[in-house]
């Protein structure tokens, strides 16, 4: 029945608070802050100035290259500022601040229904690109790039990621239950664009209603099936998902297209459908506000750029709340301020009460991390090398294959912050690479 991969962990699911709550549309905010970086790739360049009037869905930041995605105004109103603002990545990033005019009007040409069957492959990709669609599972990779593999990488299978393996988060579960047909239509669009003949929707077994709903929706689609996955973290990770569903191993350092597969999150697929069918840019997304630090957890459809502070005021924060995480507890990022805005990649706002911090000790070489790592790496070795800041030792490890899922840190009896060290180690390797590249370019200094 349920398929799976080697390694992984079983953290408590913590989804009871919100899994039964239908998506509520969050109130349209009075002000939005649209960062120019909401994706992997080149940052956007602003194309509006202070004082400009913008409409809902109007492009306000143009892509900085092919691997990039435009950003749009999520409300209609006036641009009040274009300046660096706190961002969930932890540093200030240039953003477009828009004050609402109360009208919430769409820009011209948007929100117009089209006949998908009449659109060509190129037209579909163009709609997806200009809608600024990026991977909504959290990685935010520009979708039009993913849907344009080179000719020598034919795709035969499109996989939809309905695993939602992060504890606490339930927004994907809700959109699968509430908008199954839209998701299936989105999948069909992607299969057409990629010329793929098979579609598989992978859903973890802890979402029986979503499985049932989607099975019904694909009943009449012979080339699409729904597969049940064993509940394990990180089943939603791309390589592990592809392996569990197709038994194909994506080569280390490679992309799924190398094994003929493209994988998309279900929320991304929904956005693809809306972009293709209604020419709607990506200006809102479903997310879960939860944690034992909020009074009223729930699943919300939120406009991109909405202030997290406003959302937390709406949900009500308890006095004992002392930690804010954007994303899930495993791979989400802890925040130092509430004054950040929801971006395309925000799938969860997690508020924790009475969170503790702790000291770590030396690696006792128990091997639990090696057993847990879904990529079969050696987190023990990596952690020791990074702790000692030994760059040559770091280089000899497989650190670049780590996607920072946190399984190792979760099982470590010495409570070692392995993922923090991996981020540090990767930064050290980038620094080294940059230094070496510079050395190759600079002329050799003359000997005196």
């Amino acid at each position: 029945m349920a398929q799976t991969f080697r390694g992984g962990i079983h953290p408590p699911e913590m989804k009871e608070a919100t899994s039964e709550m239908p998506l509520k549309v969050a109130p349209v905010p009075d002000e939005v802050i649209i960062p120019l970086v909401q994706h992997i790739g080149a940052p956007c360049n602003p194309i509006v100035d202070k004082g400009d009037q913008v409409k809902r869905g109007q492009m306000v930041g143009e892509p900085g290259g092919f691997v990039s995605a435009p950003v749009h105004a999520s409300i209609s109103g006036t641009v009040t500022k274009v300046e660096p603002r706190p961002h969930y990545l932890g540093r200030k990033i240039p953003a477009i601040v828009i004050q609402s005019d109360g009208k919430d009007e769409w820009a011209d040409g948007l929100n117009v229904e089209a006949e998908i069957g009449s659109l060509s492959r190129e037209q579909l990709i163009e709609r997806i690109q200009s809608a600024g669609i990026v991977g909504l599972g959290g990685a935010t990779f520009p979708t039009h790039v993913k849907l344009s593999p080179p000719n020598n990488s034919p795709i035969d299978t499109v996989i939809l990621n309905g695993a939602e393996c992060e504890p606490y988060v339930t927004c994907d579960d809700r959109i699968m239950i509430e908008r199954p047909n839209d998701i299936v239509e989105g999948l069909k669009i992607m299969m057409k664009v990629l010329n793929a003949n098979t579609g598989i929707i992978g859903i973890e077994a802890n979402k029986p209603k979503a499985i049932e709903t989607l099975r019904e929706a694909v009943d009449k689609e012979p080339s699409i099936s729904v597969a049940t996955l064993k509940v394990k973290y990180p089943q939603g990770s791309e390589k592990q998902l592809i392996y569990a569903l197709t038994r194909r191993k994506v080569p280390a350092g490679g992309l799924p297209m190398a094994v003929g597969v493209v994988n998309q999150n279900v929320a991304t697929t929904l956005a693809v459908y809306y972009a293709a069918k209604y020419k709607k840019p990506l200006i809102e997304r479903a997310l879960t506000i939860t944690g034992d630090g909020v009074e009223q957890p729930g699943n919300y459809m939120v406009r991109v750029g909405t202030s997290v502070r406003e959302l937390l005021d709406m949900a009500g924060m308890k006095p004992e709340a002392n930690k804010l995480v954007l994303g899930g507890p495993m791979m989400g990022l802890a925040q130092y301020t509430q004054d950040i805005s929801v971006t395309k990649g925000t799938n969860g706002i997690l508020v924790i009460a009475n969170a503790e911090s702790w000291d770590h000790t030396a690696c006792i070489r128990c091997g639990s991390c090696v057993d847990a790592c879904p990529m079969n790496l050696n987190p023990s070795e990596i952690s020791i090398a990074c702790e000692a800041s030994d760059v040559s030792a770091i280089k000899s490890t497989q650190i670049l294959d780590c996607f920072e899922c946190g399984s190792c840190a979760y099982v470590c009896p010495s409570k070692r912050p392995i993922v923090h060290w991996v981020k540090f180690g990767k930064a050290e390797l980038s620094k080294l690479k940059a230094q070496n590249q510079q050395k190759a370019v600079e002329p050799v200094a003359e000997k005196k």
Binding site: P251, A362, I364, R365, N378
Partner: protein, 354 residues
């Protein structure tokens, strides 16, 4: 670590009840020495102490467990200092030591005070008889202070075989008991074993001479199972270790001198159950070899390590100079652990063969 310490209390209590006050004193001195040394050295370096993680206490207990009950007071004292200061802290503290501190300390003590460590055995069987007679624990303990130089079961069998071989070699077969002047070599071996027999039940329960903590197999197995179930140790060290020892002690050929000058090698005639239940094998397999710091990281590595320990233990017990091989075999495999780790590196998911 404290769970391991708690589990070790059971064999400790047994050891004290069966061997007397001396055993208690040895245990206390050993634990105190380990804890005090750790405190002192961290204090000396103005470092926050790590005594509260319980590993010094566990080392103290395990060190006491591998010492004879009537060891002079300076033996566990020096052993504790050596185990913590040299074997553990000099290498970097918890997580960095290469050798198991308790076992390395025992090897050191054997080198320093070889007589004390091999001849101060206490015979528990007489002890138990005494217990049944007097019915008063305290009185009994104080009358059994000095050890009896009685052989441990492993020692007894090894010596018996050596005595027999020497007698035949020197042409003195007439000096042997009639039961041994027969033709069939396998039968001779069997009778040698029977003559130096401690019943399997006695071995299981621990009614035999030996080190303080190694005798009661049943309690050690119980403790080991608790640790396995709770996930503190993995099965892939103790099970392959014991299995290898059982297999090899049964299969490996033993040299038996025959009258007339020819010596025969008798294979597949060993007594595996005896070997598994005697000496420090169960203690070593479940509590020493499983020490995470000094054993390999991966499952495959641990199995190689365990089989290596089993091989060395069998070889030392059968062919080596010592009656017991667990201590040295684990130390030797600890030395090999970094090498094993290097050759059993996990293969990255999707790794491309270059």
């Amino acid at each position: 670590m404290w769970t391991v310490a708690a589990v070790l209390v059971l064999p400790a209590v047994y050891g004290v009840s069966i061997f007397g006050l001396n055993a208690l004193i040895t245990i206390l001195i050993s634990v105190a020495s380990c804890v005090a040394t750790e405190f002192a050295i961290y204090g000396l370096f103005r470092h926050k102490t790590t005594v509260q993680d319980g590993s010094a206490v566990v080392t103290g207990l395990l060190l006491a467990f591998v010492l004879p009950p009537a060891s002079p007071w300076y033996v566990p004292l020096v052993g504790g200092v050596f185990a913590i200061a040299v074997v553990k802290l000099a290498f970097g503290g918890l997580g960095y030591n290469i050798w198991n501190p308790a076992l390395a300390a025992r090897a050191f003590l054997l080198a320093c005070w070889s007589v004390s460590l091999v001849s101060t055995w206490t015979n528990p069987v007489a002890h138990v008889r005494e217990l049944r007679r007097t019915n008063d624990q305290l009185q009994m303990i104080s009358t059994r202070v000095d050890g009896v130089t009685a052989a441990t079961p492993l020692n007894a069998r090894k010596r018996a075989l050596a005595v027999y071989n020497e007698a035949i070699q020197k042409g003195r077969e007439q000096s042997l008991p009639p039961a041994f002047r027969i033709e069939d070599p396998k039968e001779i071996l069997r009778r040698l074993n029977v003559a130096n027999k401690t019943s399997y039940l006695d071995l299981l329960v621990g009614l035999r001479g030996g080190c303080i903590g190694e005798t009661c197999v049943v309690l050690l197995l119980l403790g080991g199972t608790i640790l396995l179930i709770r996930g503190y140790i993995k099965w892939y060290i103790p099970i392959p270790y014991i299995a290898t020892v059982a297999l090899l002690t049964w299969a490996l050929p033993v040299r038996l001198e025959m009258p007339g000058g020819a010596a025969r090698l008798i294979a597949f005639a060993g007594d595996p159950l005896f070997h598994v239940l005697s000496g420090g094998l169960v203690l070593g397999a479940f509590f020493m070899a499983t020490d995470m710091v000094t054993s390999p990281l991966t499952q495959k590595g641990c199995i190689i390590f365990a089989v290596g320990c089993g091989l060395m233990t069998a070889l030392i017990r059968i062919y080596g100079g010592y009656p017991e091989g667990v201590c040295y075999s684990i130390l030797l495999m600890n030395t090999a652990t970094p090498l094993i780790d290097r050759y059993t590196k996990p293969k990255t998911f999707g790794a491309v063969k270059k």
